[in-house]
Symmetry: C2
Subunit: 245 residues, 2 copies
């Protein structure tokens, strides 16, 4: 379990994975998304072999803590809810979730203390109908309908990403401002005064009646730039040097 | 350009990619997300070599239509907006977007007819500061802060997925019902009547005052199952056969 994980975090269960490298890259994708607990059902290769460890690039901890089960039935025994990822539609009456739909349910599971798991099928064939009998819901991540096949690690990444994303609180957009902060209105007004003064000295305002509009246009350019205090100082220097010339 | 693409769809620009396989898997991820136009800046290897084509598993069209440029400056000339993906924070005053923030801006770009592109850096180093000068905004996809490194195709997949996801209209959750539909209330009431009658015949209701609660509990079990017409027919058969015994 990676640091910060708790018992009601979802477990990711790789069912009959074929290649050790893919188990390793799946562990890496899980680590990217803070999903700490991996289970393996009847894997074809040793998940602790060199190829798997190398492919995990730093997520060895997840491989080392992974539990191996002989059957899917044993792997899900302690779980209260099971989601099964599949790219194919099935001839079954079962709830189908998008990635986001799954993430929302898992978040609700977490809040109510329900222990849940997400199943991923073998590389070549995906999950079989006999695997899906253990699933409460199918997860079908919407993608290009004409080209929706994903490799194992990519499926793990998208499912994990949806779960991570739902609890992430990063602002959709912000201004990166190392060692500075947004200029206040006094600073920007002072800059515009400086600019206007130097433009007047330079004879930029040919017609007095157009002057207000010309200044509005210039103000709009700089206001769209969301100037920081550092930017304002930079621009004072630029104006002063251009004017001196 | 893949079918359904139009001129204001974003282009994905791989800057100095090192391995042809990674260009191929990036093309596959683009195809998954309906991103049709790839550009390459000074790639180390031929993007049409066998290794690239094999890795694209079905997205050869994107590789064949990809344009190669000697410099990033040339590759972005016709674009009106450029987003740059990077996992590292930078000592620059620049807008920073999450994957979702980028997708929202790109959707707004699309609606206003603005042609935009998304930059992805070389595998080993990512984009350099000299590349970022062409970017209007930096895209930093939130992931486990202690383990956020992604390979090229995974970065392309997450960026493409956010863009695809925003325009996708699949319901978060629905019931897959091949050849049937949700039972109406007449069908479910008839089922509950059948069940209650056979339970009465079987002597299930020991105490008359508890009978209403027992039936409510049974109704709740079956109502949570969101029965279809097919399910109702199945359950009538189960009740009849159990009762006959």
């Amino acid at each position: 379990m990676i640091s910060g994980a708790n018992v009601s975090d979802p477990v990711f269960i790789l069912v009959r994975p074929q290649l050790a490298e893919n188990v390793g890259t799946a562990a890496r994708a899980m680590m990217n998304c803070c999903i700490g607990e991996m289970r393996l059902v009847d894997p074809d290769e040793d998940h602790l072999c060199d190829r798997a460890l190398a492919a995990s690039s730093g997520a060895e901890e997840i491989l080392q803590n992974a539990k191996v089960f002989q059957t899917l039935k044993e792997a899900v025994e302690d779980l209260q809810k099971v989601y099964a990822t599949t790219g194919r539609s099935r001839d079954m009456i079962k709830p189908v979730l998008t990635g986001q739909g799954m993430a929302k349910e898992i978040e609700a599971d977490r809040r109510t203390g329900i222990k849940c798991g997400v199943l991923f099928g073998p590389e070549r064939t995906g999950l079989e109908n006999d695997d899906l009998v253990y699933a409460d819901a199918i997860v079908n991540i919407p993608l290009n309908p004409k080209h929706c096949s994903l490799n194992l690690a990519q499926a793990v990444l998208l499912a994990g990403y949806e779960i991570f994303r739902l609890s992430d609180t990063t602002a959709d957009k912000y201004l990166s401002m190392p060692n500075t902060e947004p200029a206040n209105k006094a600073e920007t007004e002072h800059l515009f005064d400086h600019l206007e003064q130097e433009l007047e000295n330079a004879g930029y305002f040919k017609s007095p009646e157009k002057r207000p509009r010309m200044m509005r246009n210039l103000r709009n350019i700089f206001m769209r730039a969301e100037l920081t205090s550092q930017d304002v100082r930079t621009l004072h220097g630029v104006i002063a040097d251009l004017a001196r010339r």
